[in-house]
Amino acid sequence: MKVIKVGMADYKTTKSPGILVTLGLGSCVGIALYDRNTKIAGLAHIMLPSSLEIKNNSNKAKFADTAINELIKEMISLGATKRNIVAKLAGGSQMFSFSSKNDILRIGERNVQASKNGILEHKIPIISEDTGGNFGRTIELNSQDGSLLIKTIGHGIKTI
């Protein structure tokens, strides 16, 4: 089965069969979208919550708000129907514990919240998530069944 890598601040889509992989999510969030009828899958690896907070926001894959819109557009152009799409989320951890006034270190939490808001705006249901904590995750979205495999170091492997 073809394996497609999704980098940081990047998104990719595939038709079945195919696996979308993003390696080592930290405070970033992996947004996995899946159309159960057409088996079209999309995965975004976002870094920041909102394109509106940043001046230099041309890279749409970098922000939760813009990446979700683009990902849905691309899935629809491949033949997906919005009402059949479901979502899963992973990532958004806080890798370093810090008593800092700088809230960029709590960006994981904000990324998760922004991803949820963005997905719900499209009326797409979030059917499962594995977010938060203080560890990294590698995730694999399988377009055959929409399962999302989550691998960690020291926190086990699971499928959501």
Binding site: G7, M8, A9, D10, L23, G24, L25, G26, S27, C28, M47, L48, I54, N56, N59, K62, S93, M95, F96, S97, F98, S100, N102, I104, L105, I107, N134, F135, G136, R137, T138, K151, I153
Partner: protein, 203 residues
């Protein structure tokens, strides 16, 4: 000023910072272990986010990240990151042992954070000397996890300013113990212009 449009002047300044900083760090390490330490000329690198997770080879490979807050005239953070083998070499170097199979225990991690402290202080002192800014670092936080996840921390912070990260790659060597580490200097947006001005990169 955006990282994406940074010029060669800044790269030269950072290279100079790298040279002085790792020179000082090597001297400090040599003093602690009482052995000679060789140092390679540091490389300054600028990468797109998509390439970031490959900095240490494999983005799922466990690495050690040592993270500091930077305070004073400039606010921001610094991160020193080592692959696990380098971290073990560093601990062996400190203890004068040669145990390659060791798992890092709490004492090792505490030793690593102390060395990270020395290395980062060496750079911050060089930066202070180059710019005339008063700077200090806070106590470190250590994390051992996937390279991609740890590298995402500086990447996200740089992400507020542009689409690239900038870092200094340093290599130290004592006998056959080779240590390769990457140092990220991450000013907050509000301090970035001030830093560039102090470095003489922008007017």
């Amino acid at each position: 000023m955006l990282i994406d449009t940074l010029n060669n002047v800044l790269l030269d300044v950072l290279k100079e910072l790298g040279n002085i900083g790792s020179g000082n760090a090597a001297t400090a390490l040599a003093t602690i272990i009482n052995r000679k330490i060789d140092m390679d000329v540091p490389q300054v690198k600028i990468l797109e986010f998509k390439e970031v997770s490959n900095i240490l080879g494999d983005s799922e490979k466990p690495v050690v990240g040592i993270y500091f807050g930077m305070e004073g005239d400039i606010e921001g953070n610094m991160m020193f990151i080592l692959d696990l083998q380098s971290a073990k070499n560093l601990v062996n170097m400190l203890y004068g042992s040669s145990n390659d199979d060791r798992d890092l225990n709490d004492m090792d991690i505490s030793a690593l954070s102390e060395v990270g402290n020395i290395i980062s202080s060496s750079y911050i002192n060089s930066l202070s000397a180059l710019t005339g800014l008063t700077l200090k670092i806070t106590i470190p936080s250590v994390c051992i996890d996937m390279a991609g996840a740890i590298l995402s921390v500086p990447a996200v912070q740089f992400g507020q300013m542009g689409d690239h990260v900038i870092f200094i790659e340093t290599q130290f060597e004592e006998d056959n113990n080779k240590i390769t580490g990457d140092l990220f200097l991450i000013p907050e947006i509000s301090s970035f212009d001030k830093l560039l001005k102090s470095l003489g990169v922008v007017q």
